[in-house]
Amino acid sequence: MASINGYQYPTEQEAINARESVDSYYGIPVAPDDVTQNWVDYQFASLNDPQFWYIVFDESLTPILGTPTEFEVVTPPFLPTE
């Protein structure tokens, strides 16, 4: 379980819309053949119930996405651990 500060979306389309609004704000991509295609990307909380999509907070996102919230994301149990 990881505590995430960011933006939570119940559907992937809402996360895509949020990503596109940020891209539009920052003018990304600048050129069609640029490597950089998005300002920020979204993640899928596949192990949460219910599942959701989220964008991790960055200060650059505040003007577009507003104030972030804290939420928990279930992460897979993998090693290494001690």
């Binding site: 990304i28 950089t36 998005n38 300002w39 991790v56 960055d58 149990p77 993998f78």
Partner: protein, 296 residues
């Protein structure tokens, strides 16, 4: 600029394929990488760029190559990023295999220029350019995964200086895969070193433990035939693992700097991956890297 660099004859007995690591004198050679990333020119045969950089002032991008001595072309880099920040969108593979490290999302790109100044690491020699993975969301995806088939081995060389003891050092991993995701040697979020040791038919192992300070380190790890014949070296000294265990693993490397939600918080300058056992040439390869970067 770089001080004069001592040349040293390297062991060239290993079977060669694409890569030849070249000293700045153009004298020393070595061979055989599946992928090779560096902020120096590694091969006389390589004619491409070192990195592609996005500057934050207007988000335009530009390739950055090498100067005539094989160093990163910091003149071009600082000109492009004058007064602003620069982030790496692409770390080009110099092996000839085209396995570039790529990040298409701006927020996840490692930084190489801060307010017009190239980030550097300094060991016992002169400062050398580095890129910084922020420990929050930075990583590079391989443009082509590096498969690890049953019985395969690896030899990985990587430079790092963690931003703190609690961050994760540079690593190559199975990327978005969770349980079972493979990893090369990694200076984990404490002072221990971890590494997978074999990938045979879904059952493998990893070793961990020991003590490793968050210094400027050259880490080399060798996955050989079994858990008992895998080794890691730090600054060319054999590392002592305290524990060996086993766990199912999947079979491909696909990402540099992250595994699922675990992100590297470290500076780095070079990572070379061989999918063969090069441990017989451990000292020669480590010496080549250290001769240029002046780590220890």
């Amino acid at each position: 600029m770089c001080p004069p660099i001592r040349t040293q004859k390297l062991d060239t007995s290993a079977k060669s394929s694409a890569l030849k690591i070249r000293s700045m004198n153009g004298l020393d050679t070595y061979s055989g990488a599946a992928a090779a990333y560096s902020l120096r020119k590694l091969s006389s045969a390589y004619v491409g760029n070192a990195i592609r950089v996005r500057r934050s002032s207007d988000n335009t991008e530009q390739n950055i190559g090498f100067d005539g001595s094989g160093n990163l072309d910091t003149t071009a880099l600082t000109t492009f990023c004058s007064g602003t920040n620069g982030f790496v969108t692409t770390w080009y593979d110099q092996s000839g295999n085209g396995v570039n490290g790529v990040q298409t999302t701006a927020a996840n790109q490692p930084q190489i220029v801060s307010s017009g100044s190239v980030l550097t690491l300094t060991g016992i020699g002169s400062a050398k350019p580095c890129m910084l993975f922020d420990g929050t969301n930075d990583f590079l995806d391989l443009s082509t995964t590096l498969p690890i088939a049953t019985g395969d081995k690896f030899s990985i060389y990587q430079l790092e200086k963690k931003t703190s003891t609690s961050t994760i050092g540079i690593w190559i991993t199975g990327g978005p895969l969770g349980s079972g995701s493979p990893f090369g040697p990694v200076h984990y979020n404490n002072q221990d070193l971890f590494m997978n040791t074999k990938f045979n038919a879904g059952t493998s192992g990893y070793r961990y433990g020991g003590t490793l300070a968050a210094n400027y380190n050259l880490i080399s790890g060798y996955m050989k035939d079994s858990d008992t014949t895998s080794d890691a070296y730090v600054n060319n000294s054999l590392y002592t693992f305290s524990t060996t265990t086993s766990e199912a693993r999947v079979t491909a490397f696909s990402r540099i700097g992250a595994r699922v939600t675990e992100f590297s918080g470290t500076s780095t300058q070079e990572m070379i991956i061989y999918l063969v056992d090069q441990s017989a040439n451990n000292t020669a390869i480590n010496t080549n890297i250290n001769t240029y970067y002046g780590i220890y």
